[in-house]
């Protein structure tokens, strides 16, 4: 029993920064494919078990980063946080693809002091000073999370990769998805192909059907995975990569969650 409890608390410690794993983090656009001289798109962001169903917790938008087609940073408007969802608007004023992401990174550690399991979270720079001298079994982890979506006014444009944390590198453009067609993407971790990673693909609207109809695929050696969209809808994609720390170096825990719209 004691062992189980210890294991559970350790699991809780490991899972804590990834509440997105228990509850999925999502950033849902009101539309993804737009025409005209300019356009507005609204976004809801939350964490819940049923993707895009705001019934658990709003997402804090501290790391909201919107990249316009020309590479400049665009500003969210009408930002608000409600009980179960955060919302904002984006005015698309230039043609091309916008990357809309809520990005977070942090540093955490677990250790034992006097036989007691403890944990710490903070900035990596403060880590060394924050851990007591008599701490044992110190396990440090760098965390990176990225929750994002893409919207396009007019013709889709190429997306630059970020090179930090886990991210989606388009092979198929994320705003060029149609039911019945196959799409291919690459998962990158810190800019390098993330091989053999499980990607969960869940279509929204779970409240109105009984079968979750989730799809799980694995990335290949080049980090690529493919999916043939069985139905139109807004899909949530999620993946995470954990690396254990070795030789005193911190481990890492990187997660990526995306919302992609598939049109009929």
């Amino acid at each position: 029993m004691k062992k189980t409890l210890a294991f559970l608390s350790l699991a809780a410690v490991l899972a804590a920064p990834l509440s997105a794993q228990a509850h999925r983090a999502w950033l849902a656009p009101t539309s993804t494919v737009l025409s005209g001289n300019d356009a507005w798109v609204g976004f809801d962001a939350g964490m819940s078990n049923g993707v895009f169903i705001p019934d658990h917790a709003a997402m804090r938008l501290a790391g909201l980063t919107i990249t316009a087609p020309d590479g400049s940073t665009a500003q969210a408007e009408n930002v608000s946080q409600a009980k179960y969802r955060s919302s904002f608007d984006l005015h698309l004023s230039q043609p091309g693809t916008y990357r809309v992401a809520n990005v977070g990174s942090g540093f955490m550690a677990s250790y034992k002091q006097g036989g007691e399991q403890k944990r710490w979270r903070g900035a990596e720079a403060e880590f060394a000073a924050a851990i007591p001298a008599d701490a044992t079994e110190v396990q440090a982890t760098r965390t990176d999370s990225r929750t994002e979506t893409f919207v396009t006014l007019g013709e889709p444009t190429d997306l630059k990769t970020v090179g930090k944390g886990l991210e989606l590198a388009p092979v198929t453009h994320p705003n060029d998805l149609a039911v019945g067609e196959a799409a291919t993407f690459k998962l990158l971790k810190d800019g390098q192909p993330a091989a053999d990673v499980e990607v969960t693909i869940a279509r929204g609207g779970i409240r109105y059907r009984n079968n979750p109809e989730e799809i799980t695929v694995k990335t290949g050696a080049d980090g690529a995975f493919s999916v043939t969209w069985p139905e139109a809808g807004l899909y949530w994609l999620g993946a995470s990569v954990r690396t254990a720390g070795v030789n005193g170096q911190p481990g890492s825990n990187a997660s990526w969650n995306g919302a992609l719209e598939v049109l009929p």
Binding site: S35, G36, A39, P156
Partner: protein
């Protein structure tokens, strides 16, 4: 009255003479059905030539609201012609000369494309694709196979947003 056939023949010859020199014309006739609806809006319609691999060879016509009203600019809803938008519409600039025009009322409308505008089209098998999307209504796509490079005709029909679609290549 008797003279009329002669006049027609003469006109036919006059029309045929340049056609021989400049090859074929392409005519697409599109029927927009009369739809009973409390809030009927004329559909957006796109007509284009599709290659066998389903990529677009050329857009022939796009009928959409040409003006801005208090709900927005007519171009805001071009994306609702989803198939056309994805297969080429989004790469075009609207309005486009000889291609874009206002929405049409229910009835039969035809699009005639002189051969000169299809100079770049190699002879071969193609589809004419007609897509209609209507506010508070549905969307429908009708494909009609035809051959470019000799006289032939084709026909298809929609079931909801489109009626008969006829294609004629004349020499």
């Amino acid at each position: 009255m008797r003279k009329l056939p002669l006049v027609l023949t003469a006109a036919g010859l006059a029309a045929a003479a340049p056609a021989v020199a400049t090859a074929a014309d392409l005519t697409v006739s599109v029927e927009l059905p009369r739809i009973s609806s409390a809030s009927y809006h004329r559909p957006y319609v796109a007509v284009w030539i599709e290659k066998p691999d389903q990529t677009t060879a050329q857009t022939l016509a796009v009928w959409y609201q040409q003006t801005r009203n208090n709900e927005g600019d007519g171009k805001d809803w071009l994306k609702d012609l989803r198939t056309w938008w994805r297969k080429g519409g989004r790469a075009m600039t609207m309005p486009a000369d000889g291609v874009s025009g206002p929405t049409k009322a229910p009835g039969r409308h035809s699009v005639t494309v002189p051969a000169a505008r299809l100079r770049a089209l190699p002879a071969g098998q193609y589809n004419i694709v007609v897509e209609a999307a209507r506010e508070l209504g549905g969307r429908e796509v009708v494909r009609v196979p035809f051959r470019w490079g000799g006289a032939n005709t084709g026909a298809g029909t929609g079931s909801t947003e489109l009626g008969a679609v006829r294609v004629a290549v004349t020499r």
